[in-house]
């Protein structure tokens, strides 16, 4: 029986539009037979007007004051019929008190963006300055949720098996040297998928892709006078909308399809997609910032405010989203569920995640409800949840982040220890041993596993790998803050000259140090993360905080792939080596190892004897496991010598049916990696100054 539903028919006509009371859920806009359902929350607002525009038109198509009886609780909802889905843009005017001391900043003159908007117009092209006199800048539109996924779903690769590649959408292919057609866009990354696959990474972590305002930076380049940007985008305008300016098809409003196409193609290549998400603050700034959406919808709900009504600033960027308010918490949950289900996103990395564990007054909570909700959410249950476990308000929670058995962490201690050990600092051997085995000192006692630790030596924050071995100090003058921005605790070493040099000895040492760093990273337990371009020596010329630079300084220079081909091939070989050896990816601190050797053991120049003293700069590790369903042992031995002199290492004894094979030797500049590993019958090896060697075992031919 097919009855015509009478609840799909309009009940009223307002301002010439046929309407009826809407459904309060879902929030935002959704399509219903014959019309669109609009729903918006405001607890302190006193009236709501839906403002409709035709695409790109300045003057509204019409304004519909939502009748009071259309409100349920604190939610105004209305169905409007006969709208052109593709053409219509909308926003809200909310009336209410303007009383900043009380936390209220209502102004019905403003047209506010829907916080649940899934597509925005107004900023279709990157770097094209908008007409600031226009009153409504980010215009909410209606998304088509009809992408043909052809059977795709999130990949659900085990955390411990991931090799993450962190990248900025625009930087990755913006340079002419990228050779792609759609430079600096989602589609540009799609074109580079064969490169990523060949490199061997199986996850990309995209720096912010939620709509942000690249013009949110008033500084000027001190030399060129050019305007500086908010290039990285750690300042969200709209949590549900992909940045249009990152899409080649943004000017046609098709960024949603383009981004989905990127995810689908990455998945086809076996590569997961992790989004770097920013929930700690928004682009609305403090009391002097713009009123885009939340401020005018319900300022007191969405932001952490001081008793005087000013904005708390735990993010270092003006305001702090009130994430443990139940309404805001649901917004965050809705957002992540939307990206996981509608975009097939595999995981999320939370910028300054410690903020998400503060109560509405800023105090750290012992069981933060938001973090708990995310950890146990039914839709997010197989998503990776990765915390940047600190914030700008002084909370540092590496090892103590409230993980609920689910969260992993950017391990800042791994980065710092590996850097110090790499440059030969004294007293690092003991801590390095902790880092290499997945940081049990941080994660074992609370029942976590090695993959809780996202191991990295470089990330977007700080030096690139090439700069880490080329600069003792940051060189951030181009950022327009007199070199005062960016961290000073880089633990970097320039190898003998600051910056660019013709000295071949220094240049070779830098390449070797880069290889050393990558060798340690790829043979540590936990989940390794690589920064884009580090595999071929990408430099930012000593800028360790290029958040505002949209120029070749921050764009990947693909000519380096040729000029640093050996480093690239070395990195590629290392990544594939990691995939080949399950013993490097064991995700347990109590794993039994193989039949004759423990899971992870440490060695010095003499097997089983480590010199743990402060002046020791030698450490070797042996990792083993039994290969799945086989009696065969998998074992990898890594010897690191960070002293400035060569050192002999005796190799540990292995069962007679196995032999050692040498696979990598960074001290051998001619062949730092061996395409065909050579069987090694010596009982030890001279490890060159500041060098790393890596062996695998192979069953002897009988």
């Amino acid at each position: 029986m097919d009855l015509e539903r009478i609840d799909n028919l309009p009940t009223d006509t307002i301002s010439g539009f046929r309407v009826r009371p809407g459904k309060p859920l879902p929030f935002g806009v959704s399509s219903v037979p014959g019309g669109l359902n609009f729903s918006v929350y405001t607890s302190a607002g006193t009236s709501c007007t839906l403002v409709l525009f035709s695409r790109s038109e300045e003057a509204p198509l019409g304004e519909i004051r939502v009748p009071d009886h259309y409100r349920i609780g604190d939610v105004y909802s209305i169905v409007v019929y006969d709208l052109d889905y593709e053409d219509v843009e909308y926003g809200f005017r909310i009336d209410g008190p303007y009383n900043p001391e009380e936390g209220h900043r209502f102004n019905s003159e403003n047209v506010l963006m829907d916080p649940y908007a899934r597509v925005l117009s107004g900023r279709e092209e990157w770097g094209v300055e908008p007409d600031w006199s226009k009153q409504y800048q980010y215009r909410s539109r209606v998304a088509f949720d009809d992408f043909d996924w052809e059977g795709d779903s999130p990949l659900e690769i085990n955390d411990a098996d991931l090799v993450i590649y962190e990248m900025h959408v625009r930087s990755f292919t913006k340079s002419d040297t990228s050779g792609v057609k759609f430079k600096g866009t989602y589609a540009g990354i799609t074109e580079k998928i064969p490169y990523l696959k060949a490199l061997g990474v199986n996850a990309v972590e995209l720096m912010p892709v939620f709509e942000f305002d690249e013009f949110e930076n008033s500084r000027i380049h001190p030399d060129t006078g050019e305007r500086l940007f908010n290039y990285w985008g750690y300042s969200t305008v709209a949590f549900f909308a992909p940045k249009a300016g990152f899409a080649a098809s943004g000017k046609f409003g098709m960024q949603v399809d383009e981004f989905k196409q990127l995810v689908k193609e990455l998945h086809k290549a076996g590569i997961e997609v992790i989004l770097d998400v920013v929930f700690n603050h928004t682009a609305e700034g403090n009391e002097r910032g713009p009123s885009i959406s939340f401020k005018g919808l319900d300022n007191k709900i969405y932001y952490m405010l001081t008793p005087e009504g000013y904005y708390f600033n735990f993010s270092g960027t003006g305001n702090t989203l009130n994430c443990n308010n139940p309404v805001v918490r649901n917004l965050v949950l809705d957002c992540l569920r939307y990206w996981a289900s509608e975009y097939h996103i595999d995981g999320f990395r939370f910028d300054l995640a410690s903020i998400l564990g503060r109560d509405p007054w800023g105090a750290p909570l012992s069981n933060p409800p938001l973090l708990e909700s995310l950890a146990f959410d039914p839709i997010l249950s197989s998503c990776k949840l990765i915390a940047e476990a600190w914030d700008a308000g002084g909370l540092y929670q590496v090892g103590t982040f409230p993980a609920f058995g689910r969260w992993s962490e950017w391990n800042g201690k791994y980065r710092d220890t590996a850097r110090k050990y790499l440059k030969g600092d004294e007293g690092q051997v003991g801590e390095m041993a902790q880092r290499v085995q997945g940081s049990p000192d941080l994660y074992q006692s609370n029942g976590r596993s090695p993959a809780t630790s996202i191991n990295f030596i470089t990330c977007h924050d700080g030096f690139t790998l090439a700069d880490l071995v080329s600069f003792n100090h940051k060189h951030n003058e181009a950022n327009g803050e007199n070199n005062c921005d960016g961290g000073d605790d880089n633990h970097s070493w320039n190898c003998g000259a600051e910056g660019w040099t013709e000295d071949l000895g220094i240049r070779n040492l830098r390449t070797k140090q880069s290889m050393n760093a990558l060798s340690m990273l790829m043979t540590s337990r936990g989940t390794p993360m690589l920064l884009m371009g580090d595999e071929f020596g990408r430099s930012q010329h000593g800028n360790n905080n290029a958040y505002c630079i949209d120029s070749p300084i921050s764009w990947v220079d693909w000519t380096l792939l040729e000029s640093n081909r050996t480093l690239y091939s070395f990195t590629q070989a290392l990544i594939h080596f990691r995939h080949k050896h399950p013993c490097l990816r064991v995700n347990s601190f109590v794993h039994g190892g193989s039949h004759s050797l423990p899971s992870c053991s440490f060695h010095g120049t003499t097997p089983w004897q480590v010199n743990w003293s402060a002046d020791s700069r030698q450490l070797a590790w042996l990792m083993t496991c039994n290969r799945e369903d086989q009696e065969i042992m998998d074992a990898v031995y890594v010897a690191t010598n960070m002293a400035h002199y060569a050192t002999w290492f005796d190799l540990p004894q292995i069962p007679a049916e196995y032999s050692w094979q040498l696979c990598f030797n960074t001290g051998d500049s001619q062949s730092p990696y061996l395409d065909t590993p050579i069987t090694f019958n010596e009982h030890g090896i001279l490890v060159g100054e500041r060098s790393v060697v890596i062996f695998q075992v192979s069953p002897r031919e009988t």
């Binding site: 889905y85 593709e86 589609a187 098809s249 046609f252 399809d257 383009e258």
Partner: protein
């Protein structure tokens, strides 16, 4: 936008002239629903279409499904470069057979 039905060999040709967007796409959809004949392959002639919006591209997918159900071939003819680019980056392109002209259809 104008739509007309022509024939080219065994092919039934839908010739579209003008821009296809949310304002005009309904006419194209109605035309496809009412004018297509069973048993003949379909060519959508787009040489004179300078712009196609998201809704226009989605109608192409509708047509693709319809011809699949009818068991006949579908070819797009003379797709402007900018439209083809948008189709490529958004994943629409891979669902279609595209030729530069009617004459370029193999065995036409």
């Amino acid at each position: 936008m104008q739509v007309a039905l022509e024939s080219f060999g065994q092919w039934q040709v839908i010739r579209v002239t003008g821009q296809v967007d949310s304002k005009t796409v309904g006419d194209l959809r109605d035309f496809i629903d009412t004018e297509l004949k069973q048993g003949h392959p379909v060519a959508l002639e787009l040489t004179e279409v300078p712009f196609m919006s998201s809704a226009g591209l989605r109608t192409l997918l509708t047509l693709q499904r319809k011809t699949k159900d009818m068991g006949v071939e579908l070819a797009l003819i003379g797709v402007a470069e900018e439209i083809a680019d948008t189709m490529k980056v958004t994943g629409f392109y891979q669902f279609f057979t595209i030729h530069a002209s009617l004459e370029a259809i193999p065995n036409s």
